[in-house]
Symmetry: C2
Subunit: 246 residues, 2 copies
């Protein structure tokens, strides 16, 4: 049986959870400039809760890598240079590649298989018209998320799931990254999904890994293509700093 079917979806029971959710949204949507300080008392007024839950939220976000914290100096918004955003995609690529491989090695549960087939079917239907219309963007995003999350779940490692989540919540700060959404592009991504699914189902571990990895790398290149200024692209030709390690 499906446990927890009747749960109220994500009703934050405690004030700490509410505050955390609001703060995370604010942080991820670029409400704070890089390096900006987040004063506890100011947030207190802004969020309508005492310092305790606010501090809890700040600590959590800091440990997720979104904020910086120095003892007795409070929290600051982290800076996310373009290079770090690109690295997040590289990380996702190897992590999701690993997830696909593990899923192939373990095999799919019937429920996971059903979910994957469902999302492939929905994608087929969406693309069957040959053109994309208003609202398809959100619909495909849902389908896409379902496919990926199911693969992560099928890999069976909580740590892996957590890490992918961390990669995905990196604030795409400056250039409000708009991933391309032309028919050809979505078609390509959907075909990728199809192949990954076949590889997992056929227990072709190595192939599943490579396909998924390249699938995410494709997103990376799309993101880089969408960078508005040439300056951002130049920022990517980083060179190693002479800073001392660790």
């Amino acid at each position: 049986m499906n446990q927890r079917l009747m749960d109220v979806p994500n009703a934050p029971s405690t004030r700490a959870a509410t505050v955390l959710e609001e703060l995370r949204n604010a942080v991820c949507n670029g409400q704070f400039a890089p390096g900006e300080r987040l004063h506890e008392v100011r947030l207190t007024e802004q969020l309508g809760a005492s310092r305790t839950p606010v501090r809890a939220a700040l600590q959590k976000l800091a440990s997720e890598g979104l904020l910086d914290h120095a003892p007795n100096h409070g929290y600051r918004m982290r800076e996310f240079p373009v290079a770090e955003i690109v690295y997040a995609f590289e990380l996702r690529a190897v992590l999701e590649g690993l997830a696909a491989r593990l899923a192939a090695e373990r095999g799919l549960s019937s429920e996971h298989q059903r979910l994957l087939e469902q999302s492939l079917y929905d994608g087929d239907r969406l693309l069957s018209r040959g053109v994309l219309i208003e609202g398809d963007r959100a619909a495909y995003s849902t389908i896409n998320t379902c496919f990926h999350q199911t693969v992560h779940a099928a890999a069976g490692s909580r740590m892996l799931q957590d890490m992918v989540r961390l990669c995905r919540q990196v604030p795409i700060s400056s250039p409000r990254m708009i991933v391309e959404f032309e028919y050809r592009d979505v078609r390509r991504r959907h075909d990728d999904h199809q192949r990954v699914f076949e590889a997992i189902l056929g227990r072709e571990a190595w192939r599943a890994e490579m396909l998924m990895r390249d699938h995410v790398m494709y997103l990376k290149t799309a993101m880089i293509r969408s960078l508005p200024t040439r300056a951002a692209a130049i920022e990517l030709r980083y060179s190693p700093e002479e800073a001392s390690p660790e």
Copy 2:
């Protein structure tokens, strides 16, 4: 110049930092049984601080994945089945592989190159006797850590470094994993380092990734070999659960 050379090494300035350090050690060394509850007040007495810093430490450890937390139900020690520990090695393998590739793509700073050469030189010296003596274990551990951390730093991604750190602090609970420490074994690992370094220095990105990845996978197999009971090994022939995803 080397900045921060005269720092007192890791003197935890605040009580919260002290408590966090102590609690993390306790948790990682298996002081708590899987599923055991960690009462705030009890820890308060045990650690000699009020609930505030204790709670902060608990929250941090929970967000690192070492503890579980349910609102109004407190914190519990997480369970780490053998499979999850093996997954941690798989994760390390792909993450450190990525680190080696990025280091090769970016190129080494002179300081990073120096550190890598130093650790290789030290390893050579340690192994030149042809046998291992008392104390070599700790010495090689230091050398090994230096090599790996330098590669991570050379990759230039903080998120990557954080994730590797998470992988490395998984509590090796049940079978107090003793990695083999025979001469042949250490020799092999040292040779791996040598090759990885050459690949990075020669900007052979793909080769660096594969070599590092396999280097860590070798550790994984050594760990599995060292599992005491056959029961643990059987535990690895996991099959997908029929649980509902997400």
